[in-house]
C-alpha cells in the first residue's frame, strides 16, 4: 500500500508546462531520490506534496496526489494540517532568528500545543532523533545562528520532526554543506527511514545511490524512469537515464 500516490500530475507556472503527466507510487518507510538536471521539475514535484507551490502566484495543477489515500488537493483539505503530516527540509538551512529550543518548539506552538512539559520533552526527543542533542544540550537558549551550517540543517530536521510528520520532504538538504556535514545528514536519513517516509531531491548521484531505495529520474518535466535505486544505477532501462547518471549530459 503506497503512502504517496500521484496520478497524471500536470503543473504549470503561468504558461510554462513544468510537469507532464507524472504518476508515481511511493511505499512507506522508504527513501525515494529525485534526480535530474536543473529545471527538470523534480523540486516542483516535491513541493506539490505539501502544497508549498500554493504560495507561488499564477500556478496551476491538474491530476491527483493522494497521501494516505486522501486527495490533498481536495477542497476540504486544510493545508496547514497537511503540512504537519508532510514535513519539509529546505536546500539552505533556514532556522528562525530564535533560540535553538524555540526553533524546535515553533511547530508545536503554532499548532496550538501549550503544555510546557510536552514541548520540552518533544524538543529533546526531536533533537536526539536529528542527532544534534549532544552538541546543543547545554546551549538550548542560545541563538540558532551560533550553530555551524551542518548543525543548522540538522536543527531544521529536528524542527520538522517535532510535529511528528509521516513524510519528510528534503529539497537538496546537503547541497550547501561541507562533506562531513553531508555524511552526517546521510547517516541521519538512513536511521529516519525506520519511522518516516522520505523523499529527497538531490543533484549528487553518489548521494542518491547511497541513501535511497528508489530513484526517479526526471527530464524536461517528465518522469523518465522510476525504479529500485540499484536498477537505476546499474542497469537503467532507458538511454537518457544512463546518459545522465554517467555524466554525459546534465
Amino acid at each position: 500500500m503506497s503512502i504517496i500516490s500521484t496520478k497524471n500530475v500536470d503543473f504549470y507556472y503561468g504558461d510554462f508546462h513544468a510537469l507532464k503527466g507524472i504518476s508515481m507510487e511511493i511505499e512507506p518507510n522508504t527513501v525515494t531520490a529525485f534526480i535530474g538536471p536543473s529545471g527538470c521539475g523534480k523540486s516542483t514535484f516535491l513541493r506539490l506534496m505539501n502544497r508549498m507551490n500554493d504560495l507561488i502566484d499564477h500556478t496551476r495543477m491538474t491530476g491527483e496526489i493522494l497521501i494516505e489515500g486522501q486527495n490533498i488537493y481536495d477542497k476540504t483539505v486544510r493545508v496547514d494540517e497537511l503540512r504537519t503530516k508532510v514535513g519539509m527540509v529546505f536546500q539552505k538551512p533556514n532556522p528562525f532568528p530564535k533560540s535553538i529550543y524555540e526553533n524546535v518548539a515553533y511547530g508545536l506552538r503554532v499548532n496550538g500545543i501549550k503544555d510546557k512539559d510536552l514541548i520540552t520533552h518533544t524538543v529533546e526527543e526531536s533533537l536526539r532523533n536529528a542527532a544534534l542533542w549532544n552538541e546543543v544540550k547545554d546551549k538550548l537558549k542560545k541563538s540558532a545562528f551560533e550553530l555551524s551550517g551542518g548543525q543548522q540543517q540538522r536543527l531544521c530536521i529536528a524542527r520538522a520532526l517535532a510535529i511528528k510528520p509521516r513524510i519528510l520532504l528534503m529539497d537538496e538538504p546537503a547541497s550547501a554543506l561541507d562533506p562531513l556535514s553531508t555524511s552526517k545528514i546521510e547517516d541521519l536519513i538512513f536511521t529516519l527511514k525506520n519511522d518516516y517516509t522520505i523523499v529527497i531531491v538531490t543533484h549528487n548521484m553518489q548521494q542518491a545511490a547511497r541513501v535511497s531505495d528508489k530513484t526517479a529520474f526526471f527530464y524536461l518535466g517528465e518522469l523518465v524512469e522510476f525504479d529500485d535505486t540499484q536498477q537505476i544505477f546499474l542497469k537503467p532501462k532507458i538511454e537518457a537515464t544512463q546518459n545522465y547518471i554517467t555524466g554525459r549530459f546534465g
Binding site: F90, N94, F96, S143, F145, C156, R159, A160, I163
Partner: protein
C-alpha cells in the same frame, strides 16, 4: 603607467574624502553655532517655565510639552495605520495594479508640501469635523504627513526578509498570520523602528502643518485635554525670530529654543536606537 593610475586613484579618493568631511564639517558647524549662541540661555528655568516679558525672558516649557504631545499624538496616528498598511502591501496584497496604484499614491502623498497638509488639516479636522485648533487636529495632520515614511520603511524592512523564513514557517503548518507575527515582524522590528525615528525627527521639526491646526502664539498654561491648543517648539522658534515685539531681545531665546528642539530630537533618536539594538536579531542573510 602604473604610477599614473595610482595617482589618479589617490586623487579621486582624496576628493571623495574631502567631500565627506565637508558634510560632517557643515553639520558640526551648525551644531556648534547653535551651541555657542543658545548655550547662554539654556538653564533649568529655561526648560521648566513659561515665557515672560513679551517672550524676551522666562522659558519655553509649554512649547516643549506641546511638541512632545504632538510627537506622541502623531505617532499614535501614523504608526498603527502605516505599519498595518505596510504589512498588507508586502505580505498580503498580490502584486497587481491595485498595489502599484497604492504605492504610487503613497509616494505622491510624501511629495505634497507640508503647508498643503496644514491647509487640508484645517479644512477637515479643525472645521469640518469640528475639532477646532487642538492637539487632536494637529496630531492627525502631522500623522498624515509622516504616514508615507512609515508605510515605506515598513514595506522595505519586510521586503528585505528572505522568503526562506516565511517558507520555513509555512512548511511547519503555521498560518500566514502566525508567520507574520511570530517570524516576520520580530525580524523586521528594528528596521521598522528606523521609520519611527525618521518620523519623529520630521514631526518635531514641522511648522507648516501645525500653523493652522494647533499651534498657539502664546499660551503659558499646559494642555488638559486633546482638544486644547498648545505651543510647539518649531512654531515658537518662528515667532521668536520674526514676530515678537523686541526681536533683538528675543534672539538668544530663539537660539535656545532651536538648541532644545535639536536636543529633543537627538534624545529620541538615541532612545529609539537603543530599543533598536536591544531588539535586533543577528540573522544571516
Amino acid at each position: 603607467m602604473k604610477n599614473l593610475k595610482q595617482q589618479k586613484q589617490a586623487a579621486v579618493f582624496w576628493i571623495l574624502r574631502i567631500m565627506t568631511w565637508l558634510v560632517v564639517g557643515i553639520l558640526f558647524w551648525i551644531l556648534g553655532f547653535l551651541l555657542v549662541k543658545g548655550m547662554g540661555v539654556l538653564s533649568w528655568e529655561f526648560i521648566t517655565t513659561a515665557p515672560k516679558n513679551e517672550m524676551t525672558s522666562g522659558g519655553i516649557f509649554p512649547a516643549i510639552v506641546g511638541t512632545l504631545c504632538l510627537v506622541t499624538g502623531s505617532m499614535l496616528v501614523a504608526f498603527p495605520i502605516g505599519v498595518m498598511s505596510g504589512i498588507y502591501l508586502n505580505e498580503y496584497a498580490r502584486n497587481g495594479w491595485t498595489v502599484r496604484f497604492i504605492r504610487i499614491m503613497t509616494n505622491n502623498l510624501s511629495s505634497i508640501p507640508s503647508i498643503v497638509f496644514g491647509l487640508f488639516g484645517m479644512a477637515l479636522f479643525v472645521n469640518t469635523l469640528g475639532f477646532g485648533d487642538s492637539i487632536l487636529a494637529g496630531s492627525l495632520t502631522l500623522g498624515l504627513l509622516v504616514l508615507p515614511i512609515v508605510i515605506r520603511t515598513t514595506e522595505e524592512s519586510l521586503k528585505a526578509i528572505p522568503d526562506t523564513f516565511r517558507n520555513g514557517s509555512r512548511a511547519l503548518g503555521a498560518s500566514q498570520l502566525q508567520t507574520i507575527y511570530k517570524v516576520v515582524l520580530p525580524i523586521a522590528f528594528p528596521n521598522i523602528m528606523t521609520g519611527l525615528i525618521l518620523s519623529i525627527g520630521r514631526v518635531s521639526g514641522e511648522t507648516a502643518p501645525i500653523l493652522f491646526t494647533v499651534a498657539a502664539y502664546f499660551l503659558p498654561k499646559l494642555p488638559t485635554s486633546i482638544f486644547d491648543q498648545v505651543m510647539a517648539l518649531p512654531y515658537h522658534l518662528y515667532v521668536l525670530a520674526t514676530s515678537g515685539t523686541d526681536l533683538e531681545a528675543a534672539r538668544p531665546m530663539a537660539y535656545g529654543t532651536a538648541l532644545v528642539l535639536i536636543l529633543i530630537v537627538l534624545l529620541m533618536n538615541i532612545i529609539a536606537g537603543i530599543i533598536r539594538s536591544l531588539t535586533s536579531k543577528d540573522y544571516v542573510k
